[in-house]
């Protein structure tokens, strides 16, 4: 009897309040459709048309099918396929920053969470290493340019040490420009990764470490046999989101190289390429580049989505949730062991 009544009550409730759900989520979807979804379709649509400007003259739009895509993959007179070159640049720049970023972040996360080491001043170190993440990338890049330019203090310092002479130019050497971009990306992101990985390590049941140690595992074994496997999902999550961020790399190389990707376009990224066509209003070509980038990021984003939704199960019942329910990023098979305690 009681069950029927509560069931009835619930039904009544959901009937009378359901419309509020739609009302509350409506702004989000209207904004999304207007500012993202429609533009996305327009972008794809434009990629099949020839639309550009020569001076004041407007050419197109003429339907050209896949010609823009073909043009993207057609070698220029020097025999280079630009989009592949810029994709390779983007990848090199990303990897050069991401490898130290993840290695250092992993090390720091282990240092900070180690009871044996008991590092003091953690709050200070974390504050400092995270700081570059919030700094305006364009300004950070401009700062690097100013410091490393021909008239900048770094050049003067190295000259006074006799390391380089006055003809030296940081911006004429591929390795040094790429190195600067990688260094900036590293500085901007390793603190963030450290903090996320730390949270991941702290989410692992402490008893697992203890029992491994009691069983005679040394710290290297504990890392490779316990920490790393349990941390893997969050590590992969970090890696893929970093990769998606890497594909979007723009502000730093754009400002540092004045948009040219000096020297010789070797620091020009995909988004810089896209930006160039957007600036000159070549809608067809920028559309084609956008679609290609959409496919790549969409694929990577799909992996992230799968990981998120595998871990995040929306709780069915809202009542009786006394305990804090927070999404945890852990492999499923270890979940049960965690129930005992040590959740916080």
């Amino acid at each position: 009897m009681e069950a029927i009544q509560t069931g009835k009550k619930k039904k009544l409730k959901s009937v009378s309040y359901a419309k509020w759900g739609y009302i509350f989520i409506a702004p989000f979807f209207i904004a999304y459709i207007v500012f993202t979804l429609v533009p996305q379709f327009l972008t794809i649509y434009n990629s099949f048309f020839e639309t550009y400007r020569i001076g004041l003259q407007q050419v197109g739009p003429n339907f050209v099918g896949l010609d823009n895509y073909k043009a993207l993959f057609t070698p220029d007179p020097d025999g280079t396929i630009l989009i592949l070159k810029y994709a390779a640049n983007t990848m090199i720049l990303w990897i050069a920053g991401a490898v130290p970023q993840f290695v250092i972040a992993m090390l720091l996360a282990l240092f900070f969470t180690s009871y044996r080491l008991n590092i003091k001043g953690q709050a200070f170190f974390k504050t400092v290493i995270y700081m570059p993440n919030l700094i305006m990338a364009a300004a950070f890049s401009m700062l690097f340019y100013t410091l490393f330019s021909r008239v900048g203090p770094i050049q003067a310092l190295l000259e006074s040490w006799g390391v380089i002479d006055h003809t030296f130019d940081f911006f004429a050497i591929r390795v040094s420009v790429r190195g600067m971009i990688a260094l900036m990306n590293f500085l901007m992101w390793f603190g963030n990764t450290t903090i996320v990985l730390m949270a991941g390590i702290m989410g692992i049941d402490q008893a697992l470490f203890e029992s491994a140690t009691i069983d005679g595992a040394n710290s290297v074994q504990v890392f490779f046999r316990v920490t790393l496997p349990l941390l893997m999902p969050i590590f992969v999550y970090c890696l893929i989101t970093a990769m998606i961020g890497g594909i979007q790399m723009f502000d730093v190389p754009q400002v540092l190289s004045k948009g040219d990707g000096v020297p010789n376009g070797t620091t020009r990224t995909l988004v810089m390429y896209l930006n160039g066509y957007l600036k000159t209003k070549n809608l067809g070509m920028s559309g084609a580049i956008s679609v290609i980038m959409f496919i790549i990021t969409g694929g990577l984003g799909g992996i992230v989505y799968k990981m998120l939704s595998a871990q995040y199960k929306e709780p069915k019942r809202h009542r009786d949730r006394g305990r804090n329910v927070q999404w945890r990023y852990e492999p499923k098979r270890h979940r049960d062991r965690d129930k005992g305690g040590n959740v916080q």
Binding site: I129, Y130, M142, T297, Y305
Partner: protein, 286 residues
């Protein structure tokens, strides 16, 4: 046995020395360039021409005055513009994300699961890949050289939504909403007067993050704004790079860069603790 423990202690001490060395090195690396920036912002153009130094000079306020009153780069105007955009988009993003999350969290409606899945699925798609269509559309509607396209799209912010949703699951008991209903509060009033105050910590953190990302945003504003008086700080900084560099008063250049990052730096110095907490809360359990 004793020997082993002594050896262990020595090992630990050595390890600590290595770890602290690494930490100090990274700290110096993180601060070095910004330190140089501040030092160089205190030097005159002539002093800067003499090269490298780690000691401040007395030209700070002269540089500040020169940068502030520069004819070609109107930095106070740029900072005001950036401030207007960043504040409005921080408010809009957090309010509507909380609203959306509340809608999904509290109400039972058909397609709710689909809505949640959809928002999660679009979370990772970067805005650059629809930038072309976005610019076209804004152009068509006469909204270039307008701040609306830089503020209003913030209503749909999947990442902030996700954060708010998680936060509500941990702090928002539905009994409170039922109680408000019994008291005759309508749904919007309940959200605005009862729920929003309960979400204060989450809103504060997300407002900071949205403010910062809007303040630093360069790609879309640079393509959308070309009127000088509407330009934002990142556009001006990039302009500095493309201007004829050799003619510049370098003290002023350092001052421009300092001014560009100063607001965020100040926010960070004051609120670093809650900001760092907020980093993990959105993606993992902190």
């Amino acid at each position: 046995m004793k020997e082993a423990s002594i050896r262990g202690k020595i090992q630990l001490t050595l390890l600590r020395i290595i770890v602290y060395t690494i930490l100090v090195f990274l700290t110096v690396l993180c601060l070095f360039f910004f330190y140089l920036m501040i030092i160089n912002a205190t030097r005159s153009n002539a002093q800067l021409a003499t090269g490298f130094t780690l000691l401040p000079k007395g030209n700070f306020f002269v540089n500040l005055k020169n940068a502030w009153n520069d004819a070609s780069i109107n930095i106070p105007r740029g900072m005001l513009n950036s401030l207007i955009i960043a504040l409005s988009s921080a408010l809009i993003t957090t309010y509507f994300s909380a609203l959306t999350a509340y809608g999904v969290h509290v109400y039972e409606f058909k397609g709710k699961k689909l809505v949640f899945t959809f928002i999660m699925a679009i979370m990772m798609i970067p805005s650059q890949v629809s930038a072309l269509g976005f610019l076209e559309l804004m152009n068509k509607w006469g909204l270039t050289n307008n701040y609306i396209p830089l503020i209003v799209p913030g209503i749909a912010a999947p990442v902030v939504f996700f954060y708010m949703k998680q936060y509500m699951e941990s702090v928002l008991p539905l009994e409170v909403i039922d109680a408000a209903r019994v008291d005759g509060s309508n749904e919007f009033r309940t959200f605005n007067t009862i729920v929003l105050p309960m979400l204060k910590p989450a809103i504060a953190v997300q407002m900071i993050f949205s403010f910062v990302s809007s303040w630093n945003n360069y790609f879309i504003p640079a393509l959308l704004l070309d009127k000088a008086e509407l330009k934002t700080v990142p556009i001006m900084i990039a302009q500095l790079r493309s201007a004829d560099y050799s003619k510049f008063d370098m003290g002023k250049v350092y001052m421009f860069i300092l001014l560009a990052i100063l607001p965020v730096l100040l926010i960070y110095i004051i609120l670093s603790k809650s900001i760092i907490k907020g980093v993990t809360a959105g993606s993992v359990k902190g």
